[in-house]
Structures are given as structure tokens and as C-alpha cells.
């Protein structure tokens, strides 16, 4: 047999086994008790019949006349020990000729069980023993198998209450146990989810009882601390590199600007201008790396204000329209219903400028760019669509990755960090950014929870 895999399966198996053994034990005790009582009662009524009519069996006993039998029966009924035994003497035709009970049916020789339906007053369950006493006469001895009426039902009730309460205690125990496990595991899962959401400070709560769950939580937390440390290290390294390289690049730029000013031929001037532009691209890339680090650090959340995302988008699109038109594209604004959010206007402005700049840079002249706003559930959504060449399905995830520039765009200016920065800003706001097929073209969707 395979070991159960899940806690639920194990619990079900344990409960089923417990139920089966409890019911089995109850039934066994019930049956064993009943059999013992029946055997004792059978022995007793057989002995009583023997006392009245002599030994039964192959050896023929002297056939006693009816008056003798009746006298002995009367004595039996009077006797204190046997006073509860019922007796019935019938003749060869089955007609009662003596005894102190009447029976609704004729019993065959040997033992039989009696129920309340047999019409014996005061008897709800009992045994009868019928034997021949010669001359076709039959003697039936009857005794109750219950010390009081409806004893079986009462016994069943006692068993149900007794074994039921055992089952109940076990069920409550198991429920409590699984609740406890679910709560502690739930705490761990909530922490993991929070970490995935970007709250890297979250840790699993401990109860301080030093139990295995606390030990588990502590191990988990230690792992998270270590991961955080490594991430800080990596972020620090990339920020430090970006930062440290900016000084020599700034100096280099200064020197190139001086040279350009003094350059004597247009070709030289042009070459130096191109070198300055490349230098500026590198500086912009480092600025973006540092900006992403700043955004992912989360400290800017402290400066969140109540703003209308649509108003901000309208302002930015108005501001960017000349830039887009200068590049030979058009920027139109569709519906922008009010979208109140909590956010950093500088970062959201930077996001929109980046995205509109991207849409201008990576599309052919004549492309139409449309900015629109709307609600999706409890979130405000801004979309920026263009009817340019778009990005193939398989490349969209890559475009959102840091330095994930697509081959097509490598020839154009930019540093491939615009979308990752925009995505980081969306995440800082508790939202998301993704790319869709605008058929034709690309649609960038920014979702920010409404305030």
C-alpha cells in the first residue's frame, strides 16, 4: 500500500479507521453480550423445563400426567428464584391446558426468540424453550433476555453516546490540529506571497513556544534574511558600478564638449557630437539603473500623494505632443475619466514620458499614438497604443526585462531600461505594467489601484 501523500488523505484515513474500529468494537461488545445473555437464559429455561417435566433427551422419561405437571408449574411460578419464568402447557391440538402465559403463535420444539409482537404482556424480548412432555403435549418455558423493557434500545443509546463522544473528541482534536497547522502554514504562505509582491521586509511570525513550527519559521526567516542580504549586495553592486562610472564619464563628456568647441572641421565636430551623444546614452542608462534602485528600494512610497492619474496623463500628453509631432508621429488622447490614485507624480510623469518617448522612437514616421484611461475593477488603467509594427508575442516579456533590448531596436537610441523602469514604478504603486497586441501595433497597459 502506498503511503498517503497529503495531510488531508492521512486525516481521512485515520478518521475512517477510527470510525470503523469504534463501530466494530461497539457492535462486537453488543453482540457478545447479547449471545452470552441468550445462552444463560436458554440454560435457565431448559433447566426449568427439566425441573417440571424431567430430563429431555433420547432416554424416555416417565410420562407425567397433566395434573402433576400443572402442580409443578404452579410451584415453579410461586418459587422466588423462578417466579419470572413464564410457562405454557398445550395439548396435542395446541390448545392451552395450563401455565401463566398465552402465545399468539405456535412455537416449534427447541429454542426460539420472542419479541414484543408475540403479545406476551410485559415482554419486549425473550427466549422460549419448547419440548414435548409426552402424549402430544408440549411445554414452553419463557424468560426475558432483558433486565428491563427496551433494554436493547437503551444499550444502543449508551453505546452511541459513549463511542460517539470518543469520536467527537477525536474529531474536535483533529479539526483543531489541522486548523493549527493550516494557520501556521498560512502565515508562512502569506509571508512568501508578500515577498513575491515585493514586500521584502516581511517575515513569518513566531509564537515564542519553541515548537517545531517556530523552528520552521525561524529557518524560513533566516533564509529570507540571507536572500535580502544577497539582493542588497547585488543591488548595491550595480548601483555602485553605475555611480562610480558616472564620474569619469562626466569628466569625459566635459573634455569632449571642450574638444567639440575647438574642432576645426565639420567632420571632426560631427564625430565628437556623436561621441557626446553616446556618452549621454551611457549616463542616461546609469541614471535609469540608479532610478530603478531608488524605486525598488520603496522609500518613495513615503511621498505618495492623492493624485488624478488622468489629469496627470492629460498634462504629460499635452506636454509631449510637440515632441511626438516633431518626430513626425501624432499623439491623440481618447477618454480620460477621473482616476484618483495614491502615487508619486514625478515617477508617474517619468513613466508616461518614457513610454511616449519609446512609442515615438521605435515606430516609423506617421505612426498614430493614442493615450486612453479607464477603470478595470478597482484599478485605474492607462493605455498607450500605437499602430506601428508592435512587438512579437514571444518578445514582449523580453522587452520588459532589464537590458532586454530587442534586436530591432538596438540600432535606435536609448538604453533598454525605459520599460523596466516603468514596470518598477507601476509595481511601487501596487500595480502592474504589461504589453499587449494592439493589432496592429503595441499597447502598453499601466494598472494602478484606485485610491
Amino acid at each position: 500500500m502506498r503511503a498517503p501523500r497529503s495531510l488531508r488523505a492521512l486525516t481521512a484515513i485515520v478518521v475512517a479507521a477510527l470510525l470503523a474500529t469504534t463501530v466494530g468494537t461497539g457492535a462486537a461488545i453488543f453482540t457478545a453480550t447479547h449471545r452470552t445473555i441468550v445462552r444463560l437464559v436458554d440454560e435457565r429455561i431448559a433447566a426449568a423445563a427439566g425441573a417440571v417435566a424431567g430430563e429431555a433427551g433420547p432416554r424416555p422419561t416417565p410420562v407425567l400426567p397433566t395434573p402433576v405437571l400443572l402442580r409443578r408449574l404452579a410451584a415453579l411460578t410461586r418459587d422466588r428464584d423462578t417466579g419470572d419464568i413464564g410457562a405454557l402447557l398445550t395439548d396435542a391440538r395446541g390448545v392451552a391446558i395450563g401455565g401463566n402465559v398465552t402465545l399468539r403463535r405456535r412455537l416449534p420444539p427447541g429454542y426460539a426468540s420472542l419479541r414484543a409482537g408475540d403479545g406476551i404482556k410485559g415482554l419486549s424480548a425473550g427466549r422460549a424453550y419448547t419440548r414435548s412432555v409426552g402424549d402430544g403435549r408440549m411445554l414452553t418455558m419463557i424468560a426475558e433476555t432483558e433486565p428491563f423493557d427496551d433494554y436493547g434500545a437503551a444499550r444502543l443509546r449508551i453505546y452511541l453516546i459513549g463511542f460517539g463522544s470518543i469520536l467527537l473528541v477525536v474529531a474536535i482534536g483533529l479539526t483543531g490540529f489541522s486548523r493549527l497547522i493550516a494557520r501556521r502554514i498560512g502565515a508562512m504562505r502569506a509571508t512568501a506571497a508578500a515577498i513575491v509582491e515585493g514586500d521584502l521586509q516581511r517575515r513569518v511570525p513566531t509564537e515564542g513556544d519553541g515548537g517545531p513550527f517556530d523552528a520552521q519559521a525561524e529557518a524560513f526567516n533566516a533564509m529570507l534574511d540571507r536572500i535580502a542580504e544577497l539582493m542588497r549586495g547585488i543591488a548595491g553592486v550595480s548601483s555602485d558600478i553605475a555611480h562610480d562610472l558616472r564620474s569619469p564619464l562626466a569628466r569625459l563628456r566635459g573634455q569632449l564638449v571642450q574638444l567639440e568647441r575647438r574642432a576645426e572641421t565639420p567632420a571632426l565636430r560631427e564625430g565628437l557630437a556623436a561621441a557626446i551623444a553616446q556618452n549621454d546614452d551611457i549616463l542616461a542608462m546609469f541614471a535609469a539603473i540608479l532610478r530603478i534602485a531608488e524605486v525598488e528600494g520603496g522609500a518613495r512610497r513615503a511621498g505618495f500623494a492623492d493624485i488624478d492619474l488622468s489629469a496627470l496623463a492629460g498634462e504629460v500628453s499635452g506636454m509631449m505632443a510637440p515632441v511626438v509631432e516633431d518626430g513626425g508621429r501624432t499623439l491623440a488622447v481618447a477618454a480620460l475619466p477621473p482616476l484618483p490614485v495614491r502615487g508619486d507624480p514625478q515617477l508617474l510623469t517619468q513613466t508616461l514620458i518614457n513610454l511616449i518617448g519609446n512609442a515615438t522612437r521605435h515606430t516609423p514616421a506617421g505612426t498614430r499614438i493614442v493615450l486612453a484611461g479607464g477603470r478595470r475593477g478597482t484599478s485605474g488603467v492607462l493605455t498607450l497604443s500605437d499602430d506601428g509594427p508592435g512587438i512579437a508575442d514571444e518578445d514582449r516579456a523580453l522587452a520588459l526585462r532589464r537590458f532586454g533590448r530587442l534586436d530591432r531596436s538596438r540600432s535606435t537610441a536609448g538604453h533598454g531600461l525605459g520599460l523596466p523602469l516603468a514596470a518598477a514604478i507601476a509595481r511601487l504603486h501596487g500595480g502592474a505594467l504589461w504589453l499587449e497586441d494592439a493589432a496592429p501595433g503595441l499597447r502598453v497597459v499601466i494598472e494602478v489601484p484606485l485610491a
Binding site: A284, M320, D326, Q346, I353
Partner: protein
């Protein structure tokens, strides 16, 4: 201009001194805040370029001490990391301007000029700005060239006002982004160039020569 550079990084300081000297400034260097305070007490400077992070008395503490003594000497703060709360702290402590390292000498030079000019503007309280035949009234959202009204959009007017305020000195793209657009980042588009081009068209639409000079690789300057 006589400038005191307070910075504890000798390599950075030496490079900056050499480059700013090339722009015609005379520089003295103090290697920490305490030495900086002593130097300001001993000698008169036109401006202070102050590093934010320093051992002993740091940039913010030095600045607070200066402003606490009601000394209004222009101060440009330098910081290693351009986090926005750093910038706010620097300006709150009384800095005239705030620049993130690394800074090009041309940028710092432009900002030093602007800080000194800014002092002159705030002393005169007139709302109307004038440079040559260009007049701007920021509070009335109006501008004229050669007495002819100019039809300018809001940002174009702000840009022109900033150029007029700094007429005769170079305004870098970073300075214009900060002051006209109010952004704490440098957008990776040619925003400034596009708006300058529009402004130029409007300024020269009724005839007249182009009053805006392009300082290649640095920024723009309005004829003084």
C-alpha cells in the same frame, strides 16, 4: 568668481578645481566641514560648493550653521546620490541649488552663474523680466518682443522667463528641466530642444534675429 569648494574627496576636488579654473574661477579647497567654516570666517567668497557627506561637520550641518548666523553666501550643495529626499533636505537647510555628483564643470559653472544672478533678481522686486528687446511678465502670463505681444503656450512662457532671468549665462538642459518642468529626473527625450525650437520660431516669427544661442553639448543662452 571666488569660490570655496568644501569636499573630502581630494581626487574629485583636484579635478573640479582644475576644470572650474578653466572657466575663469578662483578656487580654494577645504577638506571638511570644520575647515570650511574656518575658511568662510577668514575670507570672503562669492559662493560655496559644498559636499553633503563629509566627516566631522557635514554639509547640512555647516549650511545650517551658516544660515543660523544669517550669512547669505550662495551655496550649491553636492551629493553623491541623487535621491529626492536628500535634495529636499539640502534645499530645506538653505542651499541655493543642489547638484548630484558627478557634475560636469560646465554644469556647475552654469549653476554658479545662475545662483548669483538669482540673488540679483530677488533683490529687485519687479515682476517684469527684461533681456534686450524681450520682456516677460510671468504673473500676467504675457511676453513681448520688440513691443509686439508673443503668443506663447504656458510652458513656452515659463521657458522664456527662465531664459530671460538667466540672460547672458548658460542654462543647461538639467537646469531647464528642473526649473521650467519641475522634474526631478532627466527625461530621455529631446524635450528641451523641441521646446527651444518652438520658442525660437515664435520669437523670430515677426522678423528679428534668433536671440537664443545653442551651447553645444551644454545648453542654451539668451543674449544678455
Amino acid at each position: 568668481m571666488k569660490i570655496l569648494l568644501v569636499d573630502d574627496d581630494p581626487v574629485f576636488a583636484a579635478a573640479l578645481v582644475e576644470e572650474l579654473t578653466g572657466f575663469g574661477h578662483a578656487l580654494a579647497v577645504a577638506e571638511d566641514g570644520r575647515a570650511g567654516l574656518a575658511a568662510i570666517d577668514q575670507d570672503a567668497y562669492d559662493a560655496v560648493v559644498l559636499d553633503r557627506m563629509m566627516p566631522r561637520v557635514d554639509g547640512i550641518a555647516l549650511l545650517e550653521r551658516l544660515r543660523g548666523d544669517a550669512r547669505s553666501i550662495p551655496v550649491i550643495m553636492l551629493s553623491a546620490r541623487g535621491q529626492s529626499d536628500d535634495k529636499i533636505a539640502g534645499l530645506a537647510a538653505g542651499a541655493d541649488d543642489y547638484v548630484v555628483k558627478p557634475v560636469e564643470a560646465a554644469e556647475l559653472h552654469a549653476r554658479l552663474q545662475a545662483v548669483l544672478r538669482g540673488r540679483q533678481w530677488t533683490q529687485g522686486s519687479s515682476d517684469t523680466l527684461r533681456a534686450g528687446d524681450i520682456v516677460v511678465s510671468p504673473s500676467r502670463f504675457r511676453a513681448w518682443r520688440d513691443d509686439q505681444p508673443l503668443d506663447l503656450a504656458k510652458l513656452e512662457l515659463k521657458l522664456l522667463a527662465e531664459l530671460v532671468r538667466g540672460a547672458g549665462t548658460v542654462l543647461t538642459r538639467a537646469m531647464l528641466i528642473e526649473r521650467v518642468w519641475g522634474y526631478d529626473f532627466e527625461p530621455d527625450t529631446n524635450l528641451v530642444d523641441v521646446y527651444i525650437r518652438r520658442l525660437r520660431q515664435k520669437l523670430t516669427a515677426a522678423g528679428g534675429d534668433d536671440p537664443i544661442r545653442t551651447m553645444r553639448g551644454v545648453g542654451y543662452m539668451l543674449r544678455g
